[in-house]
Symmetry: C2
Subunit: 264 residues, 2 copies
Amino acid sequence: MDPRFLRTFVRVARLGSFSEAARELGYTQSAVSQHIAVLEADVGAVLLRRRPVAVTEAGARLLEHAEPILLRLDAARADVARVAAGPPSHLRIGATPLAVAFACELVAPALSVTVRVGARNEIARAVAVGELDHGVVDGVAAPSDPLRLPETGTPVAAFTEEPLAVAAPLDHPLSGHAIQMEVLVDARWIDAPGICAPLPELSALARADGFRAALTYEGSDVNGLLALVAAGHGLALLPERALDGRVAALPVIQPTLVHRTEWL
Amino acid sequence: MDPRFLRTFVRVARLGSFSEAARELGYTQSAVSQHIAVLEADVGAVLLRRRPVAVTEAGARLLEHAEPILLRLDAARADVARVAAGPPSHLRIGATPLAVAFACELVAPALSVTVRVGARNEIARAVAVGELDHGVVDGVAAPSDPLRLPETGTPVAAFTEEPLAVAAPLDHPLSGHAIQMEVLVDARWIDAPGICAPLPELSALARADGFRAALTYEGSDVNGLLALVAAGHGLALLPERALDGRVAALPVIQPTLVHRTEWL
DNA sequence: AATTATTACGTTCGACGTAATGATC
DNA sequence: GATCATTACGTCGAACGTAATAATT
């Protein structure tokens, strides 16, 4: 199970084509075909159905492992590179939108810095493989529960946990009341996966299916989201701290969930 | 970073000897030396100091990643082998001591079965790499928090959470009272790592350092442990269900911890 | 001197490309 | 017939063993 073969397998599976994968990886068709053949011989099972190319059951199992393995290999290389290189002169940090403020505090003012804002998993990945020196990511979790990040072995250097609140229009009937999330399962929600917990994840955490998006906000700007809420387009779950006078805050008391920020 | 090289690196690091590692792996000294040399050239850092052999800082970083990677590779192979083989005629299951009862319920009576009892991580590992078909493991965790098992991608099929209690001699002054763990930081504890949470892990979970073992119980037999408790040798944290009339049960209410059992 | 790691060198195996063949839309 | 995967084959590199060498104790 040479990692190179796993890499081409992943690519072929994703693209659904040997030739496409070959092009992207800089191999010939033939080489890709051989990679898959060797891999199949090695594990003793057919991994791909051909024409059209689609993963078999066995292939799906392998695929679930292959990506984390490849990620971890990159993380390993990056980690030894870090100790070999010593402290960087130019600091590259990343953060999720709601964590940018924290990330900036990280930085000694004099230092040369670049900041990347991105999705949680993307930041975590980038830190793991050494594209970034540090990252600050946030999300919704049960108290003292770590965020579910890709398994890279990156240690959590520090974290905070803050109360969550549902942002609602000022004239909302429950305005100011502490609430149980279940009460609002059937409300009009704004799904803002770029900012806070996407609704499907929230459903899992709250163990209550049915949070459905009336509107999906693709931006990563909290002000825009708050404006939408204030205008009555729907509700959004956010850290209480992120809310301002434009919206009503409905503190969440049930289930016990917190807004967690982790330093990587 | 050929996995074979990682494997020999791990072996060399653990054994502190190239020659020993060569013997165990069925290579020549020379081959092992070359493996390490290639690996060092690949990552661009010295991984081992020689004579005596000891991992460098960079080597330590790599080592942290190498073992999970190799485990996951084995898990991948095992997973595709499972779907290729179909349902096994002979069922091999594993369980931690406190989970054996649950594990037995898994088994359709007619079936041919072997049961292995072992430590939590060992059972999880064995399930991941296909030595066992299923496993049931238990441990202490925050509510709805999964057990911290080696990262193998093995899904948790089901779980239960039960209240925890401190087992104490019948004449214990707090007998029958619900208690906060902190009250008992300085008590005489029996560390029984083979049965429930080892004390260091408990300290981490309770966020209160200082749980120190007055006695370490190396067995995996709950009755023996309860006898020790009843005889006044110390306290032990166990699922309430596991306690019997010989000892007093002090239900734990703070911090909120549960005894969690997971089916793998 | 004995043990242990490294280096030199030869062999073998395997990864890859080129090119021909076979399958599928 | 065009696209795409497989097979055949030749080349080059690299993984390994043998054996000689260097370094520690």
